[in-house]
Subunit: 356 residues, 2 copies
DNA sequence: AGCTATGATGTGTGCGCACACAATTTTACT
DNA sequence: AGTAAAATTGTGTGCGCACACATCATAGCT
């Protein structure tokens, strides 16, 4: 029934030494005679010893501290969602002695990132989860993490030179293409102008949004090179008067048929704007099931949402770190989550199902 | 060290009894005075006791046998997918001493179900996962399971009178509505005839497909009562000459614009048929990411697939049983999975991501 | 030789739980 | 009241590992 697993005790017996000696060999903490070492190694060589992880964690009773280096959840509901995934993972692992300490940086201020990342390093955690939204600022820290031997996992934004234990996110280029497909489908075969909107983003330092736009554009290049004109609008913060002006100018053009919004928060902002100006005829495709976005989808302002699953991304990130720390299990180097399409008719089914 | 987890020992101390008594209460194996019971329960009521799974499985060294009563995977790739979810769950729990024994019945023969279900009961498993696709035949077995105190979980098809530990599936009415929404969207604003196709199904004994159809029809009733005519075709097996004849008659009508297929296997069959007759202009919406369906989607024959996630359904079913057996954790009575939309542009993202 | 550093090796304990069994109290009955 | 039986309650043990500590052997020194 149960394949009798080889225990340390068995190895000791086979080698003719005590469990203590085997233990010292296994963890190579020295203090073993050459003679004994040889005997134990030869046994280990012949059999495939797999330590019982259950027993190991029970006995160890060690606590692991994981640091989560993420944007301030109060600044953006997307990151609030992310945060809740972290909390959920922590709750799940708490009884195994895992704690997660969040370190928040300002989403709009690179300097706070550097400062907070410094604090993370100083806190000497056993593992780190990072949302590396500032490309240049993160690189030196990754190097430091590696030097210190602290495993780190990235999510949301990938940094290929980062060499993390694992990355969790989505294929952003394909995400843009998907947005384009949905937009195309919503156009009822008519041609016109489509706009890609970025709100309050420093496109220079955040490559990921450019990827989405590229996907969006290339879809139409592939399908229908001439029927649609794609415009990009790089909007400032909605507080800025230029924001409303530029937007009004855009939707004033009666050839404009649809808007593709590159982030979740911006989706809500644009939805509110369109409703205010009674332009729900324009097709609106954006990101994520934020409360506001759900509201506007139900109202018919938003046509499709692409779910980036921020909660799940963070959840999996913590899980992978815990798996590495406790079970010594290597997570996949790249975990790309499915690009989920949310429409009016399947919205409820997503809302009612949890994170699993 | 910071978060002191509550142990049985702690509960005993708080209640003023011994750990043995607490243990008896937790596993309600009686032999506890009313007085002691009350004390322990009141403590348990106040604190949230989460047993240490690690310690439990280490000590118990017990094995659990779960029986899976499911259709023969060789008869239908949908059920093969289901089976793979079962295997995956088993692999995950094997080291905790859980084994899953599959019992296959013939998808098209009620009698084999009864016979195999008999064998399941006789094998006296610790838990049972059932795909109850034959309504009338299953009911007496559920009663027997309950009498014997064996927990059982349903998936794919719900039987409300079944009183299972848990049901895992989807909202089929909403699934039909979603199919309708996608179909509507694909019609580019033009009117016409849309058909709902069932292939080789005994609709009398399988309520679930009628639910999908109802959803499909009601969507159009809500949206656009007059623009579309919805027809239903209840086809026999493709081997039957009537199959091709009826289908040819349908697509011969030049007002027919799209087909909605109620099952995954039928989706592949109809896709093959449409390709053969070069009618890929018709919009085709069906179910699930079977290999063939993926093939026809990439070719442009199938426009959308609604993912019922058979693998995940079975996976979760086993998980819930294990959770109940090992953790004594009650799963949700109804777990309705999201209705996932698969299109050409997000197909790859679903294929590359595993079951999680 | 007697003694101590020093290295090598073996033994013991706890982690939290489940379960067997021993100890104790209560009940039933003569 | 005395005793046996039954009901209740408490204690002990093992699961496999890691680590602390005790024991043992040997060499080096006075």
């Amino acid at each position: 029934m149960n394949t009798k697993n080889i225990r340390i005790k068995d190895i000791a017996q086979l080698a003719g030494v005590s469990v203590g000696t085997v233990d010292r060999v296994l963890h190579n903490r020295g203090r073993v005679s050459e003679d004994a070492l040889k005997k134990v190694l030869s046994v280990l060589d012949q059999i495939d010893y797999k330590p019982n992880l259950i027993a190991r964690t029970l006995g160890a009773n060690k606590t692991y501290r994981i640091a989560a280096l993420v944007p301030n959840p109060d600044q953006d509901p997307y990151w609030a969602s992310s945060k809740s995934g972290i909390s959920q993972a922590e709750a799940e692992w708490l009884r195994y002695g895992v704690t997660v300490q969040p370190f928040f940086f300002n989403l709009y201020d690179k300097n706070t990132f550097t400062e907070v990342a410094r604090r993370v390093t100083d806190s000497e955690p056993d593992g780190i989860l990072v949302a590396p939204i500032f490309y240049h600022e993160t690189l030196p820290f990754f190097e430091e993490f590696r030097e210190r031997g602290i495993p780190y996992v990235l999510f949301n934004t990938n940094i290929h030179e980062g060499q993390p234990l694992s990355f969790i996110g989505q294929d952003l280029y394909q995400s843009g293409r998907l947005g384009a497909e949905l937009m195309h489908l919503s156009q009822n075969g008519q041609a016109g102008i489509l706009a890609v909107l970025h709100v309050n983003e420093d496109l220079g330092n955040s490559v990921h949004l450019a990827e989405k736009e590229k996907g969006f554009r290339e879809y139409f290049d592939d399908k229908n090179p001439n029927a649609f004109e794609i415009r990009t609008l790089n909007l400032t913060s909605p507080n800025n008067p230029a924001f409303e002006k530029e937007l009004l100018e855009l939707i004033g053009n009666n050839k404009v048929r649809g808007l593709f919004i590159s982030t979740s928060k911006a989706t809500a902002i644009i939805a509110a704007f369109l409703e205010k100006h009674r332009r729900t005829d324009l097709k609106l495709i954006g990101y994520d099931m934020l409360e506001e976005n759900i509201f506007y989808m139900k109202k018919g302002v938003i046509d499709f949402l692409i779910n980036q699953n921020p909660k799940r991304q963070a959840f999996l990130g913590i899980n992978h770190l815990v798996g590495q720390l406790i079970l010594h299990k290597n997570p996949p180097a790249n975990e790309l989550l499915p690009l989920e399409i949310i429409s009016r008719e399947n919205l409820a089914s997503y809302l009612s199902s949890g994170i699993h």
